[in-house]
Symmetry: C2
Subunit: 444 residues, 2 copies
């Protein structure tokens, strides 16, 4: 009897996932339903495949429960806040659920019930979170099996632009949710360093970065993610000396972003009146101390003690922050104005390729020897549809869905992919798609 | 027939107000009811006065409406969030209401109804807000009457410690709500400077201060209040070039407070686990980058490029931030830990006196001449009960209440004390209590 997989959400990020599922459908005797608010978008992704079905779908519509009930495995690509609703339907009709989002506290409370019904709800099954957990756990288990101790683990991931498409002074383009880029790091970062829990507030986050050099790919820098503490026990690393999860950018990005933050341009609370008739430069001036007839550039330089030729000023100028162009937004917040600029300037062009970089740095002690182990992944997108992001987020979801269809995964309850029975087959299959980590071990 | 005034709240800040009302009671044929959650506290303030009555009172109790209905004028000293509830009762039973708190948006919506019933709800009738509005308006009206133009108005107020009781390196003690001191400035300050609206985010607020020198009282510095924009039209200063309302501290305070803020110690979001068994120094270390065996002091100095002998380090040390004393709080936020330290260290001793400083700085143009006008108020407390704060907050409330009893104020609706009929008699009567502004005009 055929099994049925439901993919909710047919946006850009779903392309690779849907193609993988359709490619695997015949072999696994599976029917694939692609559901979206826009049925024509779903249809374009299914593209007439004999085992593919496109439907209109809204989680708030009366038929949502019934549609979910017709399938065996549900993959939700909806915004994180909507997963709880999908999960309730899955629980009611006893279906497995997979997402690439961080597990929410509400979802976690369903663990007992999910287990009782013999179901699996797998969260954080994309890239970051997702592949980061799986690749880290593969190494952590291996090191422990060898009788060694992990003293430090720093894991950094970035969704960036490929070197061949990197043509702006920020060395960055938006390859994922632009709102997340503007709001990145708001709050307080928490991690473990040298045996101590550390708190790093937003206004210092981009000044305490770690430099990372990858042969063949150049220089990067990493700023700490919001919460690394939860992963100490989840990764089985209780008592570890240093544990930091971080986000990668190209060298120089963080110093410039910090100036935007220090100015107040990432604020999302205060609404800016008259933004519809003011220019970006006039808006920027509102964040600078008055100082006679000096230009906006000169005032920024003065306030932050930057030289005339500072690469930060160059980045700001390129971004359009000193321009006389009108903002044309109605009562936006500063963050919304900045996002509009970013979406214009940091846009991926038709032929641009994106790049995923993931770096795990371990410090290991075995008997009296100390080693540094680096495991690194670089994935470059094929084109503007088959992006590195869409591949690395979509493939793990697709692979686990097919494992469930084939009854190759008997796990039940609410989980993250930290267990061997999940990461081993997924990481192995990922190598067929060019998603391969390379390791380097050196004595220190 | 006797009139009745109800004072809700008999805490420390009510002492002067209650004494004023009792002193005026006989002459004005008025009965004074002092209401508090603790009736014995109310009784101690009434102290057997023949026209005074002490009662237990809770705004949530079933008899609250009935108690309010028995009076003619209600003065609420409750926390600002509770004023709306008091206001509803006042509206139902048609009573005047006076508070010293900022008028909330909810209260403002009642304007029509309040007016319809011929009532006056007066907010911001204390010191700041209160005396600041009244004294500013007296000058603004006078300048306009003289045919001159106001180009700039900067108004700063501080609740400080009197010079004779100033014995710590911060030159500060807590004379009002300690929570407000820790949370001061969180958000984004908005003001007008050189013809432009300016936004100053919290993380830069304490670095952009204005120095103020008062002959006989020494040096102060002012940091901008949250919202100065609302006062442009309220003060009748539309189109003014510069308008800033600010808070005064002693010189050097802001630079040191900024370091606490930069470290992250004023954060009120993240709960700190294990704070009950950790020392202040261990907690502080969590906000500092790891750097070998260096002391907390050395790390702070390194991070913020301070010299060994920096007065900022001295202030932090005196505050107890480098001490091995245990915090003993259960899952507090950083702001709560800091507040606990401040309440211990910045405590007003029995014989300490407080000091209110208010400075209005105007730039005026009359024909072709330009003048700087400074109006300044310094009030020193008599003792720990008759503080400058209790006087300056309580007396305006009491004076307006008696004006209402004597039918000397016919104003109706929701208001702030910006009109001549209120500020003129109140400012005049305040001089009898030593609350006197001195003016200095100079050509520039």
């Amino acid at each position: 009897m055929s099994k049925h997989i439901l993919v909710i959400g047919a946006g850009r990020s779903a392309t690779v996932l849907i193609r993988y599922l359709l490619d695997q459908a015949e072999k696994n005797q599976t029917e694939i339903t692609v559901a979206d608010l826009q049925p024509e978008l779903a249809a374009s992704k299914v593209n007439g495949h004999p085992r593919g079905h496109a439907i209109g779908f809204s989680i708030n519509a009366p038929d949502a429960a019934e549609i979910i009930a017709r399938h065996d495995v549900v993959i939700s690509l909806l915004p994180p806040a909507l997963h709880t609703e999908v999960a309730r339907h899955c629980l009611n009709s006893k279906k497995h659920l997979l997402t690439a989002s961080y597990l929410s506290p509400e979802l976690r409370t369903m663990d007992e019930e999910v287990k009782k019904h013999g179901l699996l709800f797998m969260g954080e099954m994309g890239l970051d979170p997702g592949i980061d957990h799986m690749s880290a756990m593969e190494i952590i288990h291996r090191i422990k099996d060898e009788g060694a101790t992990i003293e430090s683990f720093k894991s950094s991931t970035g969704g960036l632009v490929a070197p061949e498409s990197d043509d702006n002074p920020w060395n960055y383009k938006i390859t994922w949710n632009p709102r997340n880029v503007v709001m990145a790091g708001q709050g307080t970062a928490q991690f473990i360093q040298d045996g101590q829990v550390k708190y790093l507030p937003y206004h210092r986050l981009f000044t305490q970065t770690e430099k990372i050099k990858l042969p063949g790919y150049g220089r990067f820098e990493a700023y700490a993610n919001r919460d690394s503490l939860a992963y100490e026990s989840l990764y089985g690393l209780d008592g570890i000396n240093t544990l930091i999860r971080a986000t990668l950018r190209r060298e120089g990005y963080c110093a410039a972003w910090n100036i935007l933050l220090q100015l107040g341009l990432t604020d999302d609370q205060i609404k800016i009146p008259n933004a519809s008739t003011r220019s970006y430069k006039e808006w920027l001036m509102s964040y600078l101390p008055s100082s006679g007839k000096k230009s906006a550039e000169a005032r920024v330089a003065e306030l932050f003690r930057l030289g005339d030729q500072s690469p930060i000023l160059k980045k700001m100028k390129w971004m359009g922050l000193f321009s006389n162009e009108k903002i044309k937004l109605n009562e936006p917040t500063a963050a919304q104005i900045l996002q509009q600029l970013m979406e214009q300037k940091w846009v991926m062009k038709k032929k641009d390729k994106d790049m995923i970089v993931m770096v795990h740095d371990f410090m290991i002690r075995k008997k009296k020897h100390k080693y540094a182990l680096r495991s690194a992944l670089v994935v470059i997108g094929d084109n503007s549809l088959d992006t590195a992001m869409a591949k690395t987020v979509g493939l793990p979801l697709g692979m686990l869905a097919m494992m469930l269809v084939r009854n190759e995964c008997r796990l039940t309850g609410i989980h993250l992919p930290v267990m061997k029975e999940v990461y081993k087959p997924v990481l192995k299959e990922l190598t067929q798609y060019g998603i391969v980590f390379t390791e380097k071990l050196r004595t220190v």
